[in-house]
């Protein structure tokens, strides 16, 4: 099996594992952290392996890395500090 096939299998396996974990009922922090980790890891794998960003323009690479780094942080933040997000996004008056 080639390297590309291993990456593909890993991504498929992680997708199925994440869905199984959710379906078997693990809400709350365990699921939130798993989802954040999966978004970061799978996103990074596609960026590095499929898009070959490890050997590309650093500015482009950093923007893509930031995208798959910021969103998992927002997933964690919105779960742990949802009240703060609600207060910050409520218009008074």
């Amino acid at each position: 099996m080639g390297h590309a096939e291993k990456i593909w299998l890993l991504l498929i396996g992680l997708t199925l594992a994440g869905a199984w974990f959710a379906e078997t009922g693990h809400p709350g922090w365990p699921l939130t952290l798993l989802v954040a980790g999966l978004i970061a890891f799978k996103g990074r794998m596609v960026i590095d392996q499929y898009m070959e960003m490890t050997r590309a323009n650093a500015h482009i690479r950093h923007v893509l890395y930031a995208f798959v780094f910021i969103i998992p942080l927002l997933v964690i933040f919105s779960h742990g500090w949802g009240d703060l997000v609600r207060r910050l996004t409520t218009l008074n008056g």
Binding site: H3, A4, E5, K6, I7, W8, L10, L11, I12, T15, L16, G18, A19, F21, A22, E23, P27, L31, T32, V35, L38, I39, K42, G43, M45, V46, I47, D48, Q49, Y50, M51, E52, M53, T54, R55, A56, N57, A58, I60, V63, L64, F67, V68, I70, I71, L74, V75, S78, G82, D83, V85, R86, T89, T90
Partner: protein, 203 residues
């Protein structure tokens, strides 16, 4: 990360050049990709704000969606992306016919996405999950259908490079157009990898 996973899948002919300056595809496609990333970052912000205001709707929302549809779309997109990796690798070896076949397979798998989405929406509507079923489903339809539109652009791009590959226009010396279509296609992958857990997994 496993060391072997950090290895490149293929070796581009200009691998000996300064890698920090290499722009995969062309500059134009990256302007488009960055616009798409900003667009979805804004839509994801809407998701987080709506979730903060209606946590109970987002906690129970995924239960009424068909997880199998989300998983199937993810597998179709990841496998289609893999086909484009193989297509780029083939054209780097001047194997245009092989590259063409990989692109056709990528398009075929990519077309499975709107097909699955069609059946998913029919299933949703049968089960009372339409755009007015609640805030979670409003955001779900808006985000997933916006993504579907971008997948259509990607499929059009893949069709264009398939025709050009079949005509032997790309070679190991010049394949920027093919690579541009591939990186755009992979970007739709990356965005779906965020959308999928938001609506089908996270509770």
């Amino acid at each position: 990360m496993n060391t072997s996973l950090a290895e490149p899948l293929t070796t581009p002919p200009d691998a000996n050049l300064d890698t920090d300056s290499r722009v995969p595809g062309n500059s134009g496609i990256w302007v488009g990709i960055f616009c798409v990333l900003v667009e979805f970052l804004m839509l994801f912000t809407v998701y987080f704000v709506a979730k903060a205001h209606h946590p109970e709707a987002f906690q129970g929302g995924p239960d009424k969606l068909a997880t199998v549809a989300g998983v199937t779309i993810t597998m179709l997109l990841l496998t289609s992306g893999y086909c484009m990796v193989k297509a780029v690798a083939a054209v780097r070896q001047d194997a245009s016919t092989r590259a063409f076949r990989w692109i056709l397979l990528a398009i075929l798998l990519g077309c499975g996405y709107p097909l699955v989405k069609y059946f998913e929406i029919r299933w949703n509507i049968t089960h009372g999950v339409d755009g007015q079923a609640g805030i979670f489903y409003t955001v779900y339809y808006y985000l997933t259908l916006t993504h579907l539109v971008h997948v259509f652009w990607g499929l059009l791009g893949l069709s264009w490079v398939a025709i050009r590959t079949n005509r032997g226009i790309y070679s190991s010396e010049e394949y920027g157009g093919l690579e541009a279509a591939a990186v755009y296609w992979h970007t739709t992958d990356v965005i779906w990898l965020v959308i999928f857990p938001f609506f089908y997994v996270l509770r």
